[in-house]
């Protein structure tokens, strides 16, 4: 009797413990009512794929403007952020998505997660950097472009010239010297390699990729790795985001950044409002702020191309006004729509045979 009592009391206390922990864990947005619409004291959950080290700098002007709104940042790689949003779709936690690739977040529309919203000042955003629908499902803040970073010294040692664009990369002499991000896992890889299909057209694009694949040494599973691997001496030519290439070249004099003469493929880092039962006013204020001048100027420190365009100057490390480097053939909607079949085709044509040979 005594011991079963003890066991029962143990079980009871365990149950109590769970109950307590369960009850103190809830912090959802139910308290929000229409009455405190004007009040700007609130907490919002912001999901973003922006780099860790630049988020705080971006947020400075927000906190100046809205000192009573608390921003909770969930930062992760683009894919993780999007899959987290999809996994939480029945009960969304995020209030807004901030600075995450359009080609990836457009799919959130399939899960009915997007609440169209025109933030204040949307007319200043260049048409190619915001949604074509009104009200807008997404609005861009900055534009990452695909470029390459080259180890000039390593190429010189082999008697090779620095390539000027994509067409040079398929020359046989560069065989085994090039890395590009695996587009089936990296947003950067997707923007560059599926961007090439747009640059060259579907059919010629695949022919080009066939030839490029023969010269590619490896498709590493992250957007930064090809560039970093050039910097580390692991490979000679790396396809990656322009600003990352520029940053590495500024620290390593052996490196040179090449903006392909054919034009750079690009994507847009965009914001959107999450559709949920209660949409907080603070979330809209955040989206308004996110395309305001102070916010975009902060973006410009890292990404020279922001949604309102360049500022007419040539940033350090760039060849010209970076907006001019962008290809005019990029169709983000086609890229987003063709994403799944691109994954399949790319895997079957290039990734699987590589795995099989290894």
């Amino acid at each position: 009797m005594k011991q079963s009592l003890k066991v029962i009391s143990l079980l009871l206390s365990l149950a109590l413990l769970f109950g307590m922990l369960a009850s103190c864990g809830t912090d959802t947005a139910e308290e929000q009512t229409a009455a405190d619409r004007s009040a700007i004291s609130d907490t919002i959950n912001v999901y973003t794929a922006l780099e860790d080290d630049i988020i705080q700098a971006y947020l400075v002007s927000f906190y100046e403007k809205y000192p009573n709104i608390e921003i909770k940042i969930t930062r992760d790689a683009t894919g993780t952020i999007v899959s987290k949003l999809i996994a939480e779709k029945d009960n969304p936690i995020a209030d807004v998505v901030w600075g995450t690739a359009v080609t990836s977040i457009l799919s959130l529309g399939d899960y009915d997660l997007i609440e169209p919203y025109d933030p204040e000042g949307i007319e200043r955003v260049l048409p190619q950097f915001k949604d074509k629908m009104t009200p807008a499902r997404w609005v861009g803040i900055e534009v990452p472009e695909g470029a390459m970073v080259v180890d000039r010294k390593a190429l010189e040692a082999k008697g090779l010239a620095v390539p000027t664009g994509f067409d040079d990369l398929i020359k046989p002499e560069y065989k085994g010297l090039i890395q590009a991000p695996d587009p089936t896992i990296s947003g950067t890889g997707l923007l560059i390699l599926s961007g090439i299909l747009q640059l060259k057209g579907e059919e010629a694009g695949w022919e080009y990729l066939d030839a490029l694949n023969k010269n590619i040494d490896q498709f590493p599973p992250s957007g930064s790795k090809p560039a970093k691997n050039v910097d580390a001496g692991e490979t000679a030519i790396g396809l990656s985001m322009g600003y990352r290439c520029v940053k590495l070249a500024q620290e390593n004099p052996d490196l040179e950044v090449v903006f392909p003469v054919e034009g750079c493929p690009w994507d847009v880092e965009a914001n959107l409002l999450i559709k949920k039962p209660v949409i907080k006013e603070a979330a809209k204020l955040f989206l308004d702020w996110a395309i305001s001048d102070p916010a975009l100027e902060a973006c410009r420190v890292e990404y020279p191309i922001v949604a309102t365009g360049g500022n007419g100057t040539v940033p350090e490390g760039y060849n010209q006004d970076p907006v001019l480097n962008l290809s005019d053939k990029i169709d983000l909607y086609a890229m987003a729509a063709g994403r799944d079949s691109f994954f399949t085709d790319f895997t079957e044509k290039y990734l699987a045979p590589r795995g099989a040979d290894a």
Binding site: V7, G25, R75, S104, T184, S186, K228, R354
Partner: protein, 574 residues
């Protein structure tokens, strides 16, 4: 056969059902929620087996099954052989500085597998130190690299299991063998190996499935050699294809089922290796040649491990490895690199690890006790055993995803009936991360616990029953004290792994509580190996401190126990 104690049985039955509830809520139902996605398209419509059909119609995906088996079998084979030799040296030979040798070999346990792979790249990559200095490119990216990294990863796990198995042999068997004139080789094959059989099989299963489900090392060093775990990651994170991710997840769980049946088979035949209460602790005899060979082998293993860590340290502390090797601390400036990073995240990691170790050890030992040492509800206990082994085959990513899908649901609807989810409140709390960690690491700790419990003579239970000593008293007074080494081992395992695991919690963390290890994943994603190495060194430091603490605790408890309870069989020299 003494009569069963009915009161003990009631309590035991209650506890067994409690354990069933634990597995149902924190393992099976979440998994079911995730795996039900297997039969749905991306929009959630039911499509039957269509996803499987398209999986097997995609050669690149099917290819990964073979790859996963190939790297896992190689890693398992090599690691188990090396680990057995190492454990044999530890348990059965006279070797100087045993503790130093053992602790160095444990180092790989304290950092994420991504770091082993990064270390290997610093050594064998194209710009790696060996490649440049010796002009020898072994082609580290791909299968070779994965296997090497996995061996470093599972070697300590394997030799820990094997050391426990080899340490608790009955010396009387060896005396008998010597008396009967059996030579050392014959004794090894007739006494030593059979005695360690259960440990060997466990070690093999643990190694195999850890390699099979690890995604850190293949992610960093695999090049374009795809394995199942990276496929899950790719499908879920890269392509947000949850249904296909779940299909790959299902395929990943199949080895667990194989492991379970193999384990049950060995268990049925393994009754003989229990240590009887009259056993005598193994007495190590001096054999200069053997001892020297083992010392050299163990020293060499340690040197290799130290070499790997030296590469990690060099990467972290040099300005820019390998081009500029000037000393620098710039990679340790986490606050500048990370949002929610720095000191607060280390505190958070500490909370997470302590919680996981405490709660995890209790749950694991109770479960192991229930499955191994109680009699009622045999079929239920058997399914508990299955549930305990199942997490071994579940990649953290699968557990994390299933948790997010289950616990974030506010209600369930069955045939139009809507039932609120009572556990929804756990979502976005520390506790859910702790629970996911416990489930994620359940199998290995459970194996450690059962290996140790199996060695305890059933005579204790029989004696307790006939003397009407309640089972909980036996559990606390005899079972736990006799399994003290394993208890501390389990707690340590939970602690250090909670420190370095990212895959299970990457979907569960919130901005307010982000553990430090997640930073390594982000740093790997940014290809910032130097910062990742620096972060790993900090985690290593915290884990080593914890390990030392646990060891000190173990010593204190062991001394206390020795003075208060002389009945321990291994101490009882007959």
């Amino acid at each position: 056969m003494p009569k069963a104690n009915p009161r003990g049985n009631t309590a035991q039955k209650l506890l067994i059902w409690g354990a069933v509830l634990w597995f149902a809520l924190f393992l099976l139902v979440p998994l079911f929620t995730l795996f039900s996605k297997v039969f749905q398209d991306k929009g959630g419509a039911f499509i039957g087996l269509e996803n499987f059909r398209s999986y097997f119609a995609t050669p690149s995906l099917v290819l990964s099954i073979g790859h996963s088996f190939e790297v896992s079998i190689w890693s398992m084979g090599i690691a188990v052989v090396l680990a057995f030799l190492f454990a044999y040296g530890l348990a059965r030979c006279k070797i100087p500085c045993k503790n130093v040798l053992k602790n160095i070999a444990l180092l790989p346990l304290f950092v994420p597998t991504m770091v082993h792979a990064m270390g290997l790249i610093s050594i064998f990559g194209r710009a790696g130190i060996v490649t440049r200095e010796l002009g020898l490119d072994i082609g580290i990216y791909g299968k070779t690299g994965i296997i090497m990294a996995e061996i470093f990863y599972v070697f300590p796990q394997a030799f820990l299991i094997l050391t426990i198995a080899l340490e608790s042999a009955d010396f009387r068997l060896y005396e008998a063998a010597a008396v009967m004139g059996s030579g050392p080789i014959r004794t090894f094959f007739r006494v030593t190996l059979p005695g360690a059989k259960y440990g060997l099989m466990n070690a093999a299963f643990v190694c195999f499935t850890l390699c099979f489900t690890d995604f850190g090392a293949p992610q960093v060093i695999g090049g374009n050699y795809a394995v199942l775990s990276t496929d899950v990651y790719k499908q879920v994170v890269g392509q947000q294809n949850m249904p296909m991710g779940s299909v790959v997840g299902v395929i990943l769980t199949l080895p667990a089922i194989a492991a379970f049946f193999a384990n049950r088979f060995s268990h049925r035949k393994g009754a003989a290796e229990e240590i009887s209460s009259k056993a005598i602790a193994f007495r190590i005899q001096k054999q200069p040649l053997r001892d020297m060979i083992y010392t050299c082998f163990m020293g060499l293993s340690d040197l290799l491990i130290l070499f790997l860590f030296a590469a990690v340290f060099a990467t972290a502390f040099s300005y820019k490895w390998p081009q500029n090797m000037a000393f620098s601390l710039r990679h340790f400036d986490f606050d500048a690199k990370l949002i929610n990073g720095g000191s607060s995240s280390f505190m958070y990691s500490l909370l997470l690890c302590t919680g996981t170790a405490l709660l995890g050890t209790i749950i694991v030992f109770i479960t192991a006790y229930l499955t191994e040492k109680t009699r009622p509800l045999a079929p239920v206990r058997s399914s508990l055993r299955f549930c305990s082994m199942l997490p071994m085959a579940l990649p953290g990513l699968v557990i994390g995803l299933s948790y997010i899908m289950f616990f974030n649901k506010t209600d369930f609807s069955f045939f139009g009936l809507s039932i609120p989810n009572p556990l929804h409140g756990l979502y976005r709390t520390v506790l859910i991360m702790i629970l996911s960690n416990i489930v994620h690491m359940f199998a290995v700790t459970y194996v450690t616990a059962t290996t140790s419990l199996k060695k305890l003579d059933k005579a204790y239970e029989d004696a307790a029953e006939s003397m009407a000593v309640p089972p909980w008293k036996l559990f606390l007074r005899v079972t736990v004290p006799l399994s003290l080494t394993a208890v501390i081992e389990v707690a340590t395992y939970f602690f250090v792994n909670a420190m370095i695991t990212v895959s299970a919690i990457v979907f569960l963390y919130t901005p307010d509580n982000k553990p430090a290890a997640l930073a390594i994943l982000n740093m790997d994603d940014n290809a910032d190996y130097a910062a990742a190495s620096a972060m790993s060194i900090c985690l290593l430091g915290m884990n080593l401190a914890a390990r030392l603490g646990f060891d000190a605790l173990k010593k204190r408890l062991a001394i206390k126990h020795e003075s208060s309870n002389k009945a321990a069989p291994v101490k009882q020299v007959g």
